[in-house]
Subunit: 310 residues, 2 copies
């Protein structure tokens, strides 16, 4: 009997939270085989699948969402099963935008970088994001106070560590005491705050006695408002993510940022940052990050979840 | 009988709109005289008083508000009645931060610029604001679409005209059809839109077919949201004022900007702008503006209100 393939397709655009069994459909199809390959194509089997916060956006009706009825999009580290491409040969480990599937035929694969990034620390996306965001917009300097939200995330943890390497005082904001401990004990952040704490406002004020020079935002919403409130004059705000809002973006009464007047009063420069504007700089950024990791100046956080097909 | 002086003092911080007879107290005092002057001081009589949108902020508990019971702050063009200063002599017309009063003794006066700015087009504030804001943050270029809100205001009208001089396509947003007519007929704006129109959203979309490259914002609130919605990729937003919110800043449930996600998605660079950061550049800016006015490239709008003491 021919091998079957297992996939998750987007069934409907979620209103608010994702509902197991409703947002996605589990779909069984015939598996593609080496016989299906055209010139230049590669047959891959998913080993690791990247789960990114930004995936929530691909479920909404924003820039390039996954279509209803289509296989959910996503990056993977995959094993090559068969190849008609010069870019990969059988049994190579490659980075592939395969989507949520076991087996896929893809037109493009990229080699998994040697050593430090392999095998779990997935595509260049999150890992280089902050090197670039920090460098081009935030530009943290020695002696400055840099605050990072969602600071134990792939993005936030790198942003904070780069600021620290550059000599800034780094305050991380997270949603659990366990993650806060990771920030201070494993990554060496100066201070880590749990935004769910009843005294968060006072704790943030105490942690930023000279106010905030650079805010690297992955959360948006009320945490962004609180950062505006604690900003010094002429600070730089890198807007990289809006995690707190992703499950609400379809709501017409979404709460907004109420302190735009303070953006004027404090002459805050805020700028939206998306990684893909800086593709030409990836090789240099990866080299720098690799050196820092090799010297143990930069640590990589990984969360591995073992998934199962229904 | 000694001459009396008439003043308005701030009686209470307004909740929402200013209430005549309650927000301010009319206060009669003995008038200062030449005998009261110390070395370096000038006795002035108010001729014209500047009424600025930003005055609403001075009534709130923000950066440098007027204190309760204190004379309301404000800039004036005044006549010198007596002087012990080298900076002014009797009967000179000067710029003076006299506040809301008939007669005042002040420590600082500045000459009223010759010709084009005199007598009504008050202190350098509003008139140079946009030259600087536009140049440093907005940088409108030939062929770009520049949108200005509160575009018939002292600030907005200059911002829009400078963008036009630089070859941009300028769309002005105002709150009345009369003001829109001033923008297109007197100032030569390409398009002027009344944000109170029932079809404003469609009109803004039609007026910005290539989306917005530069948004010079004096209004904040929902108009800022609509500009974000119409922004192109990598636009510059100069946040100069927040008129729509000034009467609401004391409200805890102030509506906020709900489209920060789009600030990321479109990589909008937004920056708060306050004139006083650029004081060293005033002389050069005023010279440039004066030349444009002399060549009839830049027109000055004035609204004169004749006030009366109760």
């Amino acid at each position: 009997m021919a091998r079957k393939n297992h996939n998750f397709h987007l069934a409907e655009r979620p209103q608010g939270l994702i509902v197991p069994g409703r947002t996605f459909n589990f779909v069984e199809t015939d598996a593609p085989t080496a016989d299906d390959l055209k010139d230049g194509q590669v047959l891959v089997e998913t080993i690791w699948l990247s789960l990114d916060q930004s995936m929530r956006c691909w479920l909404a009706s924003y820039a390039k969402p996954t279509a209803i009825g289509e296989k959910m999009n996503g990056a993977a580290i995959a094993r090559v099963l068969a190849s008609k491409s010069s870019k990969a040969k059988g049994s190579d480990l490659v980075i592939s935008i395969s989507g949520w599937t076991e087996l896929a035929i893809v037109n493009e694969v990229a080699p998994v970088p040697e050593g430090v990034f392999e095998p779990i620390d997935l595509p260049e996306g999150t890992i280089t994001r902050d090197a670039l965001g920090a460098a081009h917009i935030g530009q943290p300097k020695a002696g400055e106070t840099v605050v990072v939200s969602a600071a134990a995330s792939a993005t936030g943890s790198v942003a904070g560590q780069i600021a620290k390497i550059r000599g800034a005082r780094v305050v991380g904001i997270m949603g659990s005491d366990e993650k806060c401990e990771v920030l201070t004990k494993k990554l060496g952040f100066g201070v880590a705050l749990n935004y769910k704490s009843a005294n968060f406002d006072e704790e943030l004020a105490r942690a930023t006695p000279d106010n905030i020079n650079v805010y690297f935002d992955n959360m948006g919403g009320t945490i962004l408002e609180k950062a505006i409130d604690r900003a010094t004059l002429h600070p730089r705000f890198v807007l990289c993510g809006c995690i707190s809002e992703y499950n609400k973006l379809d709501q017409p009464n979404l709460g907004g940022i109420r302190s735009m007047f303070d953006v004027i009063a404090k002459r805050i420069r805020m700028e939206g940052f998306i990684l893909w504007d800086y593709t030409p700089e990836f090789p240099k950024a990866k080299q720098q990050l690799g050196q820092w990791i090799a010297k143990d100046k930069l640590k990589s956080l990984e969360t591995v979840v073992k998934g199962e097909f229904p």
